[in-house]
Amino acid sequence: MSSDRLEAGTITITSDNGDEIEAYHAYPTDAESHGSVVVIHHMPGYDWSTKEIARRFASRGYGAVVPNLFHRYAPGASSGDAAAAARAAGGVPDAQCLEDVGGAVKFLRAQPGAKGKVGVIGYCSGGRQTYLSACNLDVDAAVVCYGGGVVVTPEQLTPERPVAVIDMTKDLRCPMLGLFGAEDANPSPEHTARMEEELKAHGKTYEFHTYDNAGHAFFWVERPSYREEASREGWQRIWDFYRTYLEG
């Protein structure tokens, strides 16, 4: 399904903890009903390229919201300043992330025309947060794009991220699509193999695709990490996956 008309812009949504946070909402205006997607931004922040991804989903007939996970650290600041402030503060705590993504899911389900099915997708650190969300929130399909930090050692756990996400796999609530680069160091092919091992052990529905000649952030168009072939094939996997689990 594609849409010719869409609306997009900055809104405020309510986090599950009651906080009002900034978000970017893009949705089709010529679709009678649509599935929905929460887009989780990468570590460099709630930026132009992530908003463009939200508009891409809207152009394909999905309502999409990007919650600004860095909003609290620097309200109204540029995405770069906010990302720097969040990093200086130790990064987004997992509990806070779940509250914000949970608020975005509720917002999308409440929109006119929303079918009720909500997917989540994230890139880089947002890929890890997608895995986290899919294990803890009521969502219908999850797409993990090179999410590093899912498989960690005990020494890598922090007060902000106190539990290894890989250990939450037993609680995964929806099908998962994973898209990775063979040349990535985090997640490395060994990390993704560990994820697959855990997903299989718990009988979860998933599909992983790892692209040769691609490393981390191969979807990021403006960066040298961009890989045209992996990106093109990856986007097709995403459309097929969401068609199956959000439109069915």
């Binding site: 990468h42 990064g91 880089c124």
Partner: protein, 89 residues
Amino acid sequence: MCTYLTTTERVEGTGLGAKGWFPIAHAVVYFDHPQEAPVEHALCIDFRADGTDPSERVSVELDARSARTLAESILSTLAHEEVRALGVE
């Protein structure tokens, strides 16, 4: 690769930001995706103020070789006899 590896050092100095000079209180050092530099990963340093204005920041993004060269240059400058003659430890 995305990393969470971040080191924050308490420092004293001044930085020239978008709004003029401001006192620097922290240097946040990490190796990750840069915001702007055309490399996949960079050694990034955010020199930040102690206040609440997030734009009071001087940011640099260096490729790894440049970062090492800079670090060595800083240390060799501080170790120079003319500098040490000033009583610098």
